[in-house]
Symmetry: C2
Subunit: 417 residues, 2 copies
């Protein structure tokens, strides 16, 4: 079968990760070497950039800078949170995309993101088919949340997990230096899936992990929690570390962060209001129950952009997934996302690459199996450790110049017609 | 002159740093090799451990674990915040220390900490002299705050600065991925000295620094700030990053974090109270002024324990300062702290070691020279860059096993008599 000849458009979507640009590097470097793809474009702010006809000619970039994308965190092209309408109800955006695709002879469309983005891919592909415009559409996975279906894990998760586990170990040591009580609550990202919060448990393998871990997958019961907390606090002579996912909810489905509203009226001795997010609410519960100081630490944006503490496995797999997506596409594959398949070869973890149908991934969420959460809801089982440990193997960080990271500097030459 | 023969006691005091144990490694490894020091003890929780007769026999430890202390963050022996009374008013603790020193033949007392700890050293030394008990007393500097007098910089500062600058660069990239407004406030440690907050400016050298930086050294004026913020926000098309020290105050000496008390009554659309520390208060100001979302990020404990992102210069200097302290002491030096002296050799930064009298350091605080802060109070001048850049050179991190740090594991064999 003759390869489809035409230009390639790549866009980044949703929240950034430390390795999101490794996907871009894989797609760009592979695509620039393909004869059937004369021009490779990178959309500024994802779908938005295509609608606005604002995208960069990646052929103008130096190869060395494209290589540096592997260790440059956060979407280098700019990202977007833009949900396309149902094309049957409002085809405006789709018609505009078709217009731009025709104008620039885009025959390969690659979109990098989570389940929303895979849905976007899917809708665009269906519309192009209906319009009789030949265009290969490929999804490139990305999310620290690790909640994409049909893939063993997601690009970006492993590096975030490594950073979280490492920082948890460090905070653990810091939070028990004094001979006085010390209570610390770590708040980790994840509204509905607890993968990242679970990563704090990896620190336990080194003896430096949280005493209690709460994920959104299981209902959070305040009374049970306080009983477990008191037990651990007393056993550890006044030391306690708790990790909570930002998205933990009680059995009625109320976010624990919303409990904050009752507490907002209360102030500490300085007259400060004492609340912020979930971590702060939980720290406040502990302060009252244990009559001690309690500190909340949010990993915040740091957990999704800390390329200085990346997983080498993650960077390599993410880059390879980008290349594979192009290789599959030029072979004629369309409407698929590249996914990871875990294989054990001679007892060693190996990552293989496979294709999954976009409709299988779009808008579905993969959470942690309930059997991996301890019966008493205080932590993770061996299954999680076995799953996560190979993913955080090896260290990746950007090249350092003058003691600071050297990130990619793209020229970002706007494409013109 | 004959060397004083007797045992050595080393204690860690105050807040931990990523390299505090490099001081300990230097003292222990050097002291264990000195013939005039038969026993080397490490106090559990600083002065508290001596008073309670709880300290470890460091000769029982494996040399490989002592070497690992160089890259193990947070006080491995335990720390303490305990201020000794004025010995003329209440000599109880001093008499107890003397008793323990006599019982264990402690002839070398080393204390690792900031200006409070140097004061403790000083008082103990004077008391021992008055009591006719021969004991050499040495201070070993430590503080991420970098506020010790009479030393070019402080062990622990450089690694914290490197972590802060690196994380600032990463957050900068993360905080501008979308084509929508994004305002981010970074809160950095430092009640009275702005050295750490100033370190965010190093990210500007790579084009990824905060737009505005506020230190405790200069009064914070809300109106000036909001005017500068609006200007930067508009110039950057809705992007703004501000770094603030936790200790910024207005011209009346009121901490900006205390402004929170007025705001505590206000809630967001979820009914959450919106405040925490200084960063949250400043983010709230910006939210109201610019009518946009604003996020506060606290580096919190992470900035003082992130050994995974340490400065190689810091680790090496800190270790060497520990060794030097022992070398000076066995030569008969007492009542001094080891300090750093910056030298330029062939245009290159070199760290030299010198001695400063404890009374010179005790209870004094070194803040950033006013001439290093920009006239309009929005950032730092070239002088600060020249000062700080050599300090963050080179990368240090713990050895990694299974993708996670391998920290020192001490046996902690309690000393007995």
């Amino acid at each position: 079968m003759a390869k489809l000849t035409g230009n390639l458009m790549f866009g980044q979507s949703g929240g950034p990760t430390s390795v999101i640009n490794a996907s871009a590097a894989g797609v760009f470097i592979e695509a620039l070497g393909q004869d059937c793809i004369p021009k490779v474009y990178g959309a500024a702010n994802g779908i938005r950039g295509i609608l606005d006809e604002k995208f960069y000619d990646m052929g103008q970039e130096d190869m060395a800078e494209l290589e540096l994308l592997k260790t440059t965190p956060s979407s280098a092209l700019g990202s977007v949170r833009y949900k396309l309408a149902d094309p049957d109800k409002d085809p405006t955006d789709y018609l505009r995309l078709l217009e731009v695709f025709k104008k620039y002879d885009i025959r390969y469309f690659f979109y990098n993101g989570g389940n929303d983005s895979m849905d976007t891919c899917n809708k665009i592909s269906k519309f192009m088919q209906k319009s009789g415009y030949e265009c290969i559409v490929m999804g490139v996975p990305k999310t620290i949340d690790n909640d994409l279906a049909a893939t063993d894990h997601c690009p970006g998760f492993s590096s975030a997990a490594k950073y979280i586990a490492t920082s948890t170990m460090e905070v653990y040591l810091d939070a028990r230096v004094y001979d006085t009580p010390m209570v610390c609550v770590l708040e980790v990202m994840g509204r509905n899936a607890g993968w990242l919060t679970a990563a704090t448990s990896l620190a336990s393998l080194k003896g430096h992990g949280p005493d209690l871990i709460y994920l959104p997958e299981k209902a959070f019961d305040k009374d049970d929690f306080l009983a477990s907390a008191r037990k651990a606090y007393e056993k550890n002579h006044g030391k306690l570390i708790v990790a909570v996912s930002e998205g933990i909810k009680d059995k009625n489905g109320t976010y624990i962060s919303e409990y904050g509203s009752d507490l907002a009226k209360e102030k500490d001795s300085f007259g400060h209001a004492q609340l912020g997010g979930t971590g702060a609410v939980v720290a406040d519960m502990l302060k009252k129950e244990l009559k001690c100081k309690a500190r909340a630490i949010e990993f915040s944006l740091l957990q999704r952009c800390a390329a200085h503490c990346g997983s080498a496995a993650d960077v390599e797999e993410t880059f390879t997934a980008g290349r594979k997506a192009v290789q599959f596409a030029v072979e004629g594959v369309t409407d698929h996302m590249v996914a990871y398949e875990r294989k054990m070869v001679d007892g060693k973890y190996v990552c293989d690459y496979k294709l999954v149908n976009l409709s299988e991934v779009a808008n579905t969420e993969k959470t942690i199996p309930m059997s991996w959460i301890k019966e008493d809801n205080t932590g993770l089982t061996q299954e999680f450790y076995d799953y996560a440990l190979p993913l955080i193997a090896g260290e990746s960080k950007p090249p350092m110049v003058d003691g600071l990271p050297r990130f990619a500097q793209l020229k970002k030459v706007l494409a013109t017609k």
